[in-house]
């Protein structure tokens, strides 16, 4: 993989994503600041400002080619992160695992997904190894740099590699900045809610239960 080329492509895709989805995400952030840790509710979807989600083609943690259609028929709870992150990402996956446990039988109606924003390090086997520590029903998604750029663009997720001052040989230890939301999509792949990082399980469980009964 040529770093420069990917870098330019990446910047372009981030700019494109910003142009297309920026307004929607800004709305989400504003909305969250007003409402606290409750997640995004109806107004976002009904206002038509947020077009979150859409078609994607990725590789799952078992190395299989998958598309968004493979996840239709159930709700998805999708979080974008990277396994090298030892602080926030495991906390969020733990939260998602606990939410699924709390949902009980309703958890069967949900595909939990961890999608990487760091495909260079997060290969399918790395994701499989990582996810074996969380809820057994998690699917990991990775892919080429382009595939990851595409799915993040459709979800309005931004990410960037932090410039490192590492010495040669330590360049595998880079950090990533990334948007941190957990998205709830319905059985047809339509956006239902976004939860910000750090949200309490209770609020998330309640919201998911509400959305499931609406379907």
């Amino acid at each position: 993989m040529s770093g420069r080329k990917v870098g330019i492509k990446f910047i372009l895709s981030v700019m494109a994503a910003a142009a297309i989805i920026g307004a929607g995400i800004r709305y989400i952030v504003d909305y969250q600041q007003q409402t606290g840790p409750v997640g995004i509710s109806g107004p976002v979807t009904t206002s038509g400002t947020a077009r979150i989600g859409g078609k994607f083609s990725m590789v799952d943690h078992k190395g299989r080619q998958v598309t968004d259609r493979d996840f239709h028929g159930k709700f998805t709870l999708i979080f974008f992160g990277y396994t090298f992150c030892p602080d926030i990402c495991p906390t969020e996956l733990q939260t998602m695992s606990e939410v699924l446990d709390t949902l009980g039988a309703d958890a069967e109606k949900i595909h939990p997904i961890f999608a990487t924003i760091d495909p260079e390090r997060d290969t399918a086997p790395v994701l499989a190894d990582y996810l074996s520590n969380f809820h057994p029903r998690f699917t990991g998604l990775t892919g080429t740099a382009e595939q990851v750029a595409d799915i993040t663009k459709s979800y309005g997720v931004f990410y960037s590699r932090v410039k490192s001052k590492n010495e040669p040989g330590q360049d595998k230890d880079y950090l990533m900045n990334h948007s941190s939301f957990i998205f709830l999509m319905d059985d047809a792949g339509k956006f239902r809610a976004a939860f910000r990082v750090g949200i309490a399980n209770k609020g998330m469980v309640r919201r998911i239960q509400n959305e499931l009964t609406k379907s």
Partner: protein
């Protein structure tokens, strides 16, 4: 008889406190409950949380961290800004007199990079914190489960 019961109660109380929280001291600095999270087999990174209190009159600084389980250990802060999660390294951590610095999930933490061995839940490992004035302090870090939000002890 009554006095000895009081004495016994005090002794028991002290024992209970020291057993419930691991404490490491050097000079006026106290490091409490250093804990880590278990890592998957192929993990290259890890994390450590702890609380450092400065009970002295002068400031000190945490200037370096080392552990045999990783090539590098740095202080980082996770920060959420406009929906973006960022991680930023700190070259040193200032410890003001009479105050405590909390390293806990979602904020300040010690980031381990170049992990040499997977961290197994329930185990412990060594870490040395070096302070500008107080000098080096060896502590034991307890390993909790992977997404733990707080130490179990």
């Amino acid at each position: 008889m009554r006095i000895s019961w009081v004495t016994l109660a005090l002794v028991l109380n002290t024992t209970a406190v020291s057993a419930s929280a691991a404490e490491f001291k050097i000079g006026n600095l106290t490091v409490e409950t250093p804990w880590s999270r278990a890592t998957p087999g192929k993990a290259q990174s890890g994390v450590i949380y702890l609380t450092i209190s400065n009970r002295g009159d002068a400031p000190d600084k945490l200037v370096s961290i080392s552990t045999p389980v990783a090539k590098r250990a740095e202080i980082h802060r996770s920060q959420m800004k406009d929906g973006m999660m960022t991680m930023r390294p700190f070259s040193e951590l200032t410890l003001r007199p009479g105050s405590s610095v909390l390293l806990r999930p979602g904020g300040l933490h010690v980031m381990l990079m170049g992990l040499k061995t997977p961290l197994k839940r329930g185990g412990t490992f060594d870490m040395t914190l070096t302070f500008e004035n107080a000098g080096p302090l060896a502590v034991k870090v307890r390993i909790e489960k992977i997404g733990a939000r707080a130490p179990t002890q």
